[in-house]
Symmetry: C2
Subunit: 236 residues, 2 copies
DNA sequence: CCAAAAGTGTTACATATACACCCATGC
DNA sequence: GCATGGGTGTATATGTAACACTTTTGG
């Protein structure tokens, strides 16, 4: 037997929600399409699954093509499969989301694909069901960032506590108390001081920290939860 | 244009993890395969996506075929897409999990498909990557049941608080304090007394409750979290 | 000297946990 | 009477939330 006899083969697409953070707002990397279909409209970065390619590898490839980045945080989100979601041909789309350091990408690749970083609050209407995809990704990011310290994936290697706080404020769209936040983050032992100070800030007083990779792995492996109180915020 | 020119069409399967609860243990509805491939081995219930069928509809159809049930809790989990996951032909599988009341199903449909309810703790080795699928489903169930009161989907319409407690003990594999559990559940206002008592229990003292459907919807819509302290348990 | 950013300390409140007692039923 | 299962109450600990003060730097 060389294959299943019944049933139809279907086109499998992948779409990628790419989150970034510029120090103030949460951003999305979006494409102003310079190709058909839906030429000229905004969409997520996407592509098709090849027959000889693992699903996750395909997502990695698509992310690499657009950003020049590999080894980023990349997680499968959900698969969208309404019959008419793509008017050209019946296509199901496996959606991934990724967290990247906005400073690390390849500007040429972005230019080639006509991609730009857009504030989440200014997101244009996207094609097909891409708006729903973004909505689902944001929900997942909020949930995940409450239980696991994945927010660091959006920051440069060295960062200050107030920068980290701004990131969480952007993710959950809330204002946080500086003192409580600092105390809780320090209690996680996830940060290692570098001795350096952040000279770009106004007062040059911010201490730069690095992530403690070992502790980080412990948290990712789930021996303990990260910021349980944020789970409530994931529900909104 | 009638379709995308490039890229290959791929077979899309669906597999379904069906959870039940018999009052003591969490159970899975599994198939002892009376068909090829992997005749005689255990697997999840599955099927293929038709070209003219929404993905979620296909999952509903497969669940219905096996259990005779519709309108159950059914949620997409994840898509498995390793190239060699199915040795017969390259197939990606979109996995759903479902919560059913174990008393409600159609015994004939079960018999036809050679299906039986198996304690999660006695799960046999399953074909392909189905073991991983079950593992992921259990993790998702634990997380979800901590934030949303979906556990009720596994119980009959009327149930006692101790029964509900046993369910949560089975899901999280822990022992809970009777008094604290009762107080917390009552505080949610999710339960409505029926006035009846559970005459099957030894002391006939257990009060039977029904779910307050409106409150239930509120929780599902996420205006408040359900049992935040359980999120910690989801991580193990 | 003042404004803005960053670092640290204290208190009150809510929530989770641990534990003790009483009641009803069947045997 | 007593074992079992089911219902209710209270003290403690832990963690979250609310709030005040000090220091440094640039203008």
């Amino acid at each position: 037997m060389t294959g299943y006899q019944h049933s139809s083969r279907i086109l499998v697409a992948l779409d990628c929600i790419i989150f970034g953070f510029d120090g103030e707002a949460l951003k999305l990397l979006l494409i102003k399409r310079n190709f058909d279909p839906e030429f000229g409209k905004w969409s997520l970065m996407g592509g098709f699954l090849n027959a000889d390619e693992d699903l996750h590898d395909a997502a990695t490839r698509i992310l690499f093509t657009l950003t020049g980045l590999q080894n980023n945080y990349l997680e499968q989100l959900q698969t969208f499969g309404a019959v008419k979601r793509d008017p050209v041909e019946r296509t199901i789309s496996v959606v991934y989301y990724s967290l990247v350091n906005i400073d690390d990408q390849d500007p040429l690749a972005l230019k080639t694909h006509n991609a730009s970083w857009i504030d989440l609050s200014n997101k244009p209407r996207l094609i097909f069901d891409h708006d729903q995809m973004v909505e689902a990704a944001l929900r997942q990011l909020r949930y995940k960032a409450a239980l696991y310290p994945i927010g660091f994936e959006l920051l440069p290697e060295k960062f200050t506590v107030p920068q980290l706080q701004k990131l969480y404020e952007a993710i959950y769209n809330v204002k946080l108390d500086r003192r409580n936040f600092s105390r809780k983050i320090m209690a996680t032992e996830l940060l290692m001081g570098t001795g350096e100070k952040d000279l770009t800030s106004v007062t040059k007083k911010g201490q730069l920290f690095k992530l403690n990779k070992e502790k980080y792995q412990d948290y990712l492996n789930g021996y303990q939860s990260f910021l349980p109180e944020f789970t409530e915020l994931s529900l909104s």
